[in-house]
């Protein structure tokens, strides 16, 4: 799905220190990969490079998708990008307005489907974003991104501004969606627990802009959900390993 090879990027002129250096990464379908690291190590920069918001100086970013007409990337930000001058329904119709959705019927059908999945009431459609709670807004912004039918979802600390309960619910809902719809997701977070609960793999990013270690998480449960794995013994084990690695990276 996503293949990155030897990617390097700097915000400064040629010769300035690299923010991202010789970074390689691949994310497959049906996979959720998290990136953990100290503040300012280049996690969000990497997402911006993948999304095309920044241009890398060297290296390759490839997104494989057989159907070229499909939207490849959906980006879910920490602060939702919902337009305050439109109600939720009109915000969700953005993909249609931009000619990226097949029809109004398709949009309506998927809104209904996603509203069920994310436990949102239909009345929310007529409300303006500023009338919604933080959790609702983030749900709506995830749905907005999904209505572009992206194959790869980039998430930059999407649940960090939410209360713990809402966060747990959204993690489960999002996890199910990625797995059911065979999408791929790359999550950037500061929250180790969230990363372990959500991911199939965790990458630790060092201060020099490359990955220092990788953890493959195998909870081996049939009904794996972020909320259920939190109570497993393996969860604490992974937490210990990742935390010690992260401490070493931050201390560098």
């Amino acid at each position: 799905m996503l293949n990155i090879s030897e990617l390097s990027f700097t915000y400064g002129k040629a010769g300035s220190p690299w923010t991202i250096k010789d970074l390689s990464l691949s994310v497959g379908k049906n996979e959720i990969v998290s990136i953990l690291g100290a503040s300012g190590c280049g996690k969000s920069t990497l997402l911006n490079l993948i999304a095309g918001l920044l241009l890398a100086q060297t290296g390759k970013i490839e997104l494989s998708e057989s159907d070229k007409s499909k939207q490849k990337i959906g980006y879910i930000f920490q602060h939702d990008p919902l337009f305050p001058w439109q109600n939720v329904e009109k915000n969700l119709q953005l993909s249609l307005k931009l000619g990226k959705a097949p029809s109004k019927e398709w949009i309506d059908k998927h809104i209904e489907q996603y509203f069920k999945l994310f436990h949102l009431d239909k009345q929310v459609l007529k409300k303006f974003p500023q009338e919604l709670s933080g959790g609702m807004r983030q749900r709506v912004s995830i749905i907005q991104a999904l209505l572009f039918n992206p194959q790869l979802l980039l998430l930059d600390e999407p649940f960090s501004a939410l209360d713990f309960y809402t966060k747990l619910c959204l993690e489960d809902e999002f996890f199910q969606l990625v797995k059911e719809q065979n999408k791929a997701a790359l999550l950037v977070t500061h929250d180790i627990e969230e990363a372990i609960a959500m991911s199939d793999r965790i990458l630790i990013m060092s201060k020099n802009g490359s990955f220092s270690n990788e953890f493959i998480l195998d909870f081996a449960t049939e009904s794996r959900l972020p909320s259920t794995v939190r109570s497993s013994s393996k969860f604490a084990q992974y937490y210990g390993q990742i935390w010690s690695e992260l401490k070493a990276v931050i201390a560098q």
């Binding site: 990337i73 930000f77 602060h79 990008p81 337009f83 001058w85 439109q86 931009l98 572009f148």
Partner: protein, 245 residues
């Protein structure tokens, strides 16, 4: 509800003081007129149709200048979002035009466009257009980065971003410009009438002040204040409609 009763209170107090200071004092009435004289003049000018005519002319000039100035100014200001180079080149010119007092331009405009309505519309337009350009450009440049980032990620074209994000996001700036401009448009039209005209409230005031007819002058001033309130009310309605959320 209580406030509704309080609104006319300052006006009532002012009229009462004015009345007590001028009643039975012809020399004071010559300089300050009096509430009863102004009321009489107002009725007689209304009866003759002169007040309605002169007010109509000033409203027409100010509104035409305001509408053209706002539409053209907002269009130019928002369009400058498209090209930073054009915006950079245009900026000093706009600043220069915006800082020239309309009084300095009025004689030139009257020479170019005559002493009729057109020169007053032009003066109202010039008073309005620069404010609209500056405000709408500022609005277009102040669009929240998260909205622009979203449009870029989903592959929206520049036109789509302009249409779906820049214009609606700048609307509040355009409306604020309208609030500022409405008074400026009235001022522009009035200055034009004041300098050289054959009709309008400015003309009526200048003519009456030359004859020391203070009642007519004050009637003109009251009519101007009423127009300002009326036009501001229209802008408030437009704001309510456009920003209905």
């Amino acid at each position: 509800m209580k406030l509704l009763f309080l609104y006319p209170l300052p006006l009532i107090i002012f009229i009462a003081i004015w009345h007590f200071l001028t009643v039975g004092q012809p020399d004071r009435q010559f300089i300050f007129s009096s509430p009863s004289q102004v009321l009489n003049t107002c009725f007689s000018l209304l009866k003759s149709g002169e007040l309605v005519h002169q007010t109509g002319v000033t409203v027409f000039e100010a509104l035409c200048g305001f509408i053209f100035g706002t539409v053209i100014g907002s269009f130019l200001g928002l369009s400058m979002w498209y090209s930073r180079t054009v915006a950079k080149i245009a900026k000093p010119y706009i600043t220069a035009i915006a800082t020239i007092p309309i009084f300095a331009l009025a004689p030139i405009i009257i020479v170019w466009f005559g002493i009729g309505i057109l020169s007053k519309v032009m003066l109202a337009f010039l008073s309005t257009v620069t404010v609209s350009i500056v405000q709408s450009y500022q609005g277009a440049m102040s669009v929240e980065p998260r909205f622009l980032r979203l449009m870029k990620v989903v592959g929206a074209s520049r036109w789509q971003t302009f249409k779906h994000v820049v214009i609606p996001s700048s609307l509040i700036w355009v409306i604020n410009a309208m609030k500022l401009s409405i008074g400026l448009a009235l001022l522009g039209a009035f200055i034009g009438e004041f300098i050289s005209a054959e009709e309008g409230l400015g003309y009526m005031i200048v003519k009456a002040s030359g004859l020391y007819d203070m009642s007519t002058v004050l009637t003109g001033v009251i009519a101007l204040a009423a127009i300002a309130l009326f036009l501001t009310g229209i802008v408030d309605q437009i704001e309510k409609r456009l920003l209905k959320q």
